[in-house]
């Protein structure tokens, strides 16, 4: 039933669903500039409703540093969940590295949350692909559970104000011009707010 592009990471008990109610019903931006909504649509990203908070995320990176998403407020954050065995994840890793290289200085933080791989394996993988952005360990899937992740890759975009902006379940065109425009639009938000 899952998206055909998703790697089959899931675990019974990750989400505990309560109950289902069955109800019988009685009846049936400026011209030329793509808006955030336009960009999300083009990239097939799902937008969040206003006011929804982001689950707390703290973890250790593969290099032993502690990362907390709440301490990243003021930066645009791209959080993607991945695993070394996930075939759909691999092409995206280099695209995320490119975004990291091009936009980190402007305020983008890319976080790769690895689910259940052993550290040496992650290190080899990162070396092979030349990854330099933080790779966070989630050996028990705790972070994935908090974010509701049941398939890989799954990616979240967070604005500078800490609000969740968009969600992608499955691979997306993160190397496209539209993706770069989206990141730039989010990076520009704080500039507008600071003035």
């Amino acid at each position: 039933m899952r998206d055909k592009h998703l790697c089959g990471w899931s675990r019974q008990g990750v989400q505990v669903w309560g109950f289902v109610a069955l109800v019988l019903m009685s009846a049936s931006p400026a011209a030329g500039q793509p808006t955030l909504v336009d960009l999300l649509r083009v990239l097939n990203l799902s937008a969040y409703a206003p006011g929804l908070g982001l689950p707390h995320l703290t973890g250790q990176t593969v290099t032993g540093e502690t990362v907390s998403v709440t301490e990243l407020r003021g930066r645009v954050v791209l959080v993607h969940f991945w695993a070394t065995w996930c075939g759909e994840c691999r092409p995206e890793m280099s695209l995320f590295e490119r975004l990291h290289q091009d936009f980190a200085a402007q305020g983008l933080t890319v976080l790769g949350i690895n689910i259940r791989d052993e550290t040496p394996r992650i290190q080899r993988y990162a070396k092979d692909l030349g990854l330099t952005y933080p790779l966070v360990l989630d050996p028990e899937g705790v972070i994935a559970k908090a974010y509701g992740v049941i398939g890989l890759p799954t990616t979240f975009l967070v604005g500078r104000d800490g609000r969740p902006v968009a969600l992608a379940v499955g691979p997306r065109a993160w190397g496209s011009a539209e993706a770069r425009t989206l990141v730039q639009a989010l990076l520009a938000e704080v500039v507008a707010q600071a003035r």
């Binding site: 019974q12 505990v16 669903w17 069955l22 109800v23 019988l24 509701g148 799954t154």
Partner: protein, 115 residues
């Protein structure tokens, strides 16, 4: 998860009976959105987090003290008619692997709908 997918597979049958399926859980809305996107469910998921009011009112909180303490609900189904009256309920025994068939739900819905 398998139960949600089972209802997804049988969704047209529920639609034929004019039954709206609502999935309710005690999970955080953020994780619920990820979950709904992942499963591409044709029906909405509602969050009862953090107060668990609906879950409590329906007696849906887990009977296991430890699970209840963590806000974990029983897996259960409630059939509500157009007057808002609960016509039937099913509480699923067993673990996550137990998949409850849609047939008893559809049968009850047919009876309520007079079809």
């Amino acid at each position: 998860m398998a139960n949600l997918s089972t209802r997804k597979a049988d969704y047209p049958k529920f639609q034929e009976l004019n039954v709206q399926i609502l999935g309710i859980s005690t999970n955080h809305p953020f994780s619920q959105k990820t979950f709904a996107e992942s499963l591409q469910l044709p029906y909405p998921l509602l969050s009862d987090f953090p107060d668990l009011q609906v879950t409590r009112q329906y007696g849906g909180l887990s009977g296991h003290p430890t699970l209840a303490k963590h806000g974990i609900a029983e897996r259960a189904f409630f059939l509500i008619d157009i007057q808002g009256i609960v016509r039937q309920q099913w509480v699923i025994q067993g673990g996550e692997d137990v998949v409850f068939s849609s047939e008893p739900l559809l049968k009850a819905a047919r009876e309520v709908a007079g079809k």
